[in-house]
Symmetry: C2
Subunit: 237 residues, 2 copies
C-alpha cells in the first residue's frame, strides 16, 4: 500500500511509488485484485491514476503486460537474492540457506502491491508470450527451492523426491502468505518465522537444526536488508 501522505516532502517519497509507471502498476494491482483481471479495463486504470489512456499505453502495451510486470515483481526480488544467499551462507548450513530463501520470499510476497500473488492463476490461461518471463522466473524460484530443499532434507526424503516436486511443494507452502493477507492476517515477523520453519519441517529438518537456522537466517536477513537499502538509496540518487 505505497500511499504517500499529503504533507510528505517530495524527495523522501519512495522513488518506486513516485514514477508514473509504478503508479499505473499500483492502480492496476488494486483493480485486478478487487474487481478481477477480466473485469478491469485500461481506461479504468488510467482514470484511477489520473492520466490519459494514451499515456498509459506509453508505458504498457496492454493490461496483460501490466499483470506480467506485477507478477514478475512478486518473484524477482527473491530471485535477485538467491546468488547472495549462496555466497553468504557458509557451506554445510543448508538449513540456514533454505530458511533465508523462505524469509526473503515471504517478505517479497508480504510487500507485493495489493497482494498480487493471488493473481498467479490468471497467467496460465492468458497469452503465453507476454508471461514467458514471469513463468521463467517462477520456474527458477521453484528450482532454487528444490535445490536448497534437497540439500537440507533428511536422507530418506532426499532419496525419494526430486528437485522439481520438492521445489513446487516448498514454493506453494511459502505462498500461504497470500492467503493470510487475503483473510486479513498481517505477516508479522512471528508468522514469517512460522512459515519458514514449516518449510524446513516439510524437508524433515530436525527441530534443533531449525532453531539454529532461524537465528542465523534472521541475522543474515538483517544484513541483506541493509545491502538492499544502500543499493536502493544509491540507485535513487
Amino acid at each position: 500500500m505505497r500511499r504517500t501522505s499529503p504533507g510528505r516532502p517530495r524527495h523522501v517519497v519512495s522513488t518506486s511509488a513516485a514514477s508514473p509507471r509504478d503508479q499505473v502498476l499500483d492502480a492496476a494491482a488494486e483493480l485486478f485484485v478487487t474487481r478481477g483481471f477480466a473485469a478491469t479495463s485500461t481506461r479504468e486504470i488510467a482514470e484511477k491514476v489520473g492520466i490519459q489512456q494514451a499515456s498509459l499505453y506509453y508505458h504498457f502495451a496492454g493490461k496483460d503486460e501490466i499483470l506480467a510486470e506485477l507478477l514478475q515483481r512478486s518473484v524477482r526480488p527473491t530471485m535477485d537474492n538467491v546468488a547472495k544467499i549462496e555466497a553468504l551462507v557458509p557451506p554445510d548450513t543448508d538449513a540456514t540457506a533454505l530458511y533465508l530463501l523462505a524469509l526473503i520470499d515471504i517478505r517479497t510476497l508480504a510487500e507485493a502491491s495489493h497482494n498480487v500473488g493471488i493473481l498467479y492463476g490468471q497467467s496460465d490461461v492468458a497469452d503465453s508470450e507476454i508471461y514467458a518471463e514471469f513463468h521463467h522466473a517462477r520456474g527458477q524460484l521453484v528450482e532454487s527451492y528444490g535445490r536448497f530443499g534437497l540439500r537440507a532434507a533428511s536422507r530418506d526424503l532426499a532419496s525419494d523426491i526430486d528437485t522439481r516436486e520438492l521445489g513446487e511443494m516448498l514454493t506453494h507452502s511459502v505462498e500461504v502468505v497470500t492467503t493470510l493477507r487475503q483473510v486479513g492476517l498481517a505477516v508479522t515477523p512471528k508468522r514469517a518465522n512460522r512459515i519458514a520453519a514449516a518449510a524446513l519441517r516439510m524437508c524433515e529438518v530436525p527441530q534443533a537444526t531449525i532453531s539454529i537456522a532461524a537465528s542465523a537466517a534472521g541475522d543474515l536477513l538483517a544484513g541483506l536488508v541493509t545491502i538492499d537499502q544502500t543499493a536502493g538509496a544509491l540507485a535513487a540518487q
Copy 2:
C-alpha cells in the same frame, strides 16, 4: 476426467457422469481451467456438451452458478466426512484425525473435475451471493483443519496460534495438490501421504507419531471408501 469409453455398456457408466447437469459441469470445468472463467461463455459450454443454450439454462442460471457448484464439489466431499472422522477416530489420537482429514481432502482435490481447485480465486471478485454457500463450506473446512490441527499440535504451537490461522495454513498446505496437478505430477498414494505428513509436521507432531497416524489413517480411509461406494451404489439404484 470422467470420460466413458465408446463401447462401454450404458448401465455401468457412473451416474454422476451420465446426468446432463454433470455433463455441463464437466464441460464448464474444462473450459474455465483451460481458457479462463471470464473468456468462457455459456454458449460455448452448451456447444461442448452438445445441447441447446436454453437447455443449459434449465440447469443453471448462468456461469457463476456453474462455477459455484464446481467449487462446492471440491470441498463438500471432504466436509461430509468430518463428522465420520470424529466418530471413527478413537479419542487421544488427534494426529490420526488430522492425517485422515488431509488424506480425504487430498483425494477430493485430486479427483475434482479438471483441477477446478485452481479457480478458487475467481470467486473472490465475483457476485458474493452466488458463492456464499461455497465460502461457507470452505470456512467450515478451515475451521475443521484448525480444530484438528490444534488438538494434534505441540503444546508450544497450540499456545501461540489460533484455530483460524492454523486452519488457513493447513488448508493451504493440502491445496498443493492443485499445483502438482497443474504441473503434471500425478497425485500418487506416496505423494498423498507426503502431503498429509507435511501437514502434521507443520503442527510440530513428532515423526514417530506421524508414522503411527499414517498407518491408522490409511486403514480408516479404506473403510470410509467402502462406505462411500456402498452409499453411492445404493443411491444409484
